[in-house]
Amino acid sequence: MQERRKKCVAMLLAGGQGSRLGVLTKHTAKPAVPFGGKYRIIDFPLSNCVNSGLDTVGIMTQYQPLELNDYIGNGRPWGLNRSFGGVHVLPPYAKSKKSEWYKGTANAIYQNIHFVDRYNPDYVIVLSGDHIYKMDYSKMLDYHKEKGSDCTIAVLDVPLEEASRFGIMNLNDDGSIYEFEEKPKQPKSTKASMGIYIFNWQILKQYLIEDEKNPSSSNDFGKDIIPKLLNDNKKLFAYLFEGYWKDVGTIESLWEANMDLLDPEIPVQLKDPDFRIYARNYAKPSSYISKDAVLENSFVSEGCVIKGTAKNSVISVGCEIEEGAVVENSVIMPNTVIKKGACVNYSIIGEDCVIEENASVGTDDKKISVIGHDKVVPSGAVVSGQEVKL
């Protein structure tokens, strides 16, 4: 009898604290941070999985997991509520001999070897939960098989002047990797790692077990596993991804990625019926745009009541902009109210906030101001900066 198994299992690293997102990740894991009006960051890799035909996903969480667990639920919004496979949230847990947190990206998968083995896959794809991009992983998997690769790393062509900010892959003419350099001062190539790896599971498993035995290892894919594979002359290939990709690990990049949605020149197409981004839905009515509203170059999601002005902004589900309020160049996260006469410029406003009447958030100088979740900016207050004390 044939064994019931999966060809490829996706392992999504969602345990990072995202400390560079400051107040936005104080009580929320980075992958659960709202994005693009109705999504959360994790919707992108999860929807990519579904759109690539991957139906078995393990999500490794450890930092402030409550909201993320709640958001994922049984995976139904992504069609990942399967009786065999589907989505599984994998927090670190106490074992009979010891209990520990996830020490590094490789250790997180090491601690879940049993989970992967349940599906006895040929391949494992390792993803991270903090990038905005649309990618068909099945094409990368085809490439991996075609090259007979042991490990394939997705890379992006970046401008030479930015290459020293990334992990850079130095390639042979056939696309194989001969060297990996983390943030090189003098980059030899412009192929930057996107943090997406496909491994032959048996090889990865062997390396994870060995890596765990090495007390001096930091148990990290980029720092330990990849260099070790290269050192042992395993076959590593780079898969060139062409398209939009953005790391949203900082306030500036999170803001920029939101603004990119409004730019017709930038190819992050949320509206593609053949490659939808799925998200949990909150049963809100359609938005009401009043006679006095002014909307210019903006996204407005459902459940909003707009009576004021929004320009170059992303207004999320369930927000209200009252009469005379002006929102410009900003991201308003779900269920926030901007009261009469208030103005918001170059800012990210968290979920469930109230900007009271005639208050002002942000400045004109393009430095992004941030208000954390559940905050009230008092009437008439003038605030700006990334660490607003309220």
């Binding site: 049963a283 009515p285 359609s286 509203a293 999601s301 207004i315």
Partner: protein, 372 residues
């Protein structure tokens, strides 16, 4: 809760004309992202009903597609949930003539359940009602049947099948069908509470004798004979009755009144619908939007005034839409202009086409039409 729900999906099909040619009245699009049935089904789900039968007759593919497994309403239960009840057809069966006859379809569903009460509803009356309160009220009254009713609005038009009741306190003292005697009478909302066993008995006794209308043949006749004790549950919040294309057209725009919006889309009792995973709507810098309801997934470049836009509508540059309803997936071409038009699903209005209906008789463009 000790009640089950019955929903009639086809009862007022005729009144909606072209719009119900390819759908049940229950699947009529409403308010940008909803179908009629979403409201009554959400009310039932929010009132802790776990077992709901939906009686269908014909054209019910779009309804089944919309409901799916009913997981959006959390009615995809292991031991109960939603049951679609199509006619049991023998090849000689006629389509049913009234709701009692329609209920014959539901006999096995009614017999299979053990709950004490049945809440029966049409889908054309839109409101946000808690049936737990209704059941409590019914129990307290000790009556045989509770009629859910609301005051008539000034100038509201009714059909000859509408039910009106005169009451003293909670007690019904007179019944009229088809005529509102005066403004002190209440208008039935097509919603009733009855004991399950009594309903089964009534269906069996009446249908075999060729009496098929619940309101006229049973409720009114038996009440006039003094055999029924009727309680009325007076519903005081917003009620939107859709018994004609005109009232349907007007009711859509009433959702722009924020009091109506808050009462229908109550925060504590949300209205659920099928999730479509559309992106947020995009408003171009050239767009002019004044007084509109707009769902997700729209691309707005033209001008829109006092109109309703369902999901995934594309309003192209230089177009003008006024006092109209534009349903899912429609494309309005460059320089096109629409006034008092109901544009059904997936219609394409080509560039520079001008269409105009009137407030009394809006122009209906049928599903999937290309207008050039």
């Amino acid at each position: 809760m000790n009640s089950i729900g019955i929903i009639f999906s086809n009862i007022y099909d005729v009144a909606m004309g072209e719009l119900t040619k390819r759908r049940t009245v229950a699947s009529m699009p409403f308010g940008g992202r909803y179908r009629f049935i979403d409201f009554v089904l959400s009310n039932m789900a929010n009132s802790s009903l776990t077992s709901v039968g939906i009686i269908t007759k014909y054209n019910y593919q779009s309804l089944m597609d919309h409901l799916g497994s009913c997981s959006e309403w959390d009615l995809n239960r292991k031991n109960s949930g939603v049951y679609i009840l199509p006619p049991f057809s023998t090849g000689f069966t006629n389509v049913y003539r009234g709701n009692l006859e329609a209920l014959e379809n539901a006999l096995s569903f009614l017999n299979a359940n053990k709950e004490k009460y049945v809440i029966m509803c049409d889908t054309t009356v839109i409101c946000n009602i808690n049936f737990e309160d209704v059941i409590e009220n019914h129990k307290k009254s000790g009556a045989d049947i509770t009629v859910i009713a609301a005051p008539a609005q000034q100038g509201e038009q009714f059909t000859d099948s509408d039910l009106f009741v005169k009451c003293a306190g909670n007690k019904v003292t007179d019944i009229s069908i088809g005529k509102l005697i005066d403004q002190s009478w209440l208008v039935g909302m097509g919603m009733f509470v009855i004991e399950r066993k009594r309903l089964i008995q009534t269906i069996e006794d009446y249908v075999s004798r060729g009496r098929f209308s619940f309101e006229r043949d049973y409720l009114q006749d038996e009440f006039n004979l003094g055999n029924l004790n009727l309680n009325v549950y007076k519903f005081e919040k917003t009620v939107l009755r859709n018994h004609s294309i005109k009232s349907y057209f007007e009711n859509n725009f009433k959702l722009m009144d924020l009091t109506v919006r808050d009462e229908i889309f109550s925060k504590g009792a949300p209205i659920y619908t099928k999730v479509r995973d559309e992106a947020p709507s995009f408003y171009h810098k050239d767009s002019v939007i004044e007084g509109c309801i707009i769902a997700d997934g729209c691309t707005m470049i033209g001008t829109a005034k006092d109109s309703i836009f369902f999901r995934d509508v594309h309003l192209k540059k230089g177009s003008l839409v006024k006092n109209s309803i534009v349903m899912q997936g429609a494309k309005i071409g460059k320089g096109a202009s629409l006034e008092y038009v109901i544009v059904d699903k997936n219609v394409i209005i080509e560039d520079n086409v001008a269409l105009k209906g009137s407030p009394e008789i809006p122009l209906i463009i049928p599903k999937g039409t290309i207008v050039s």
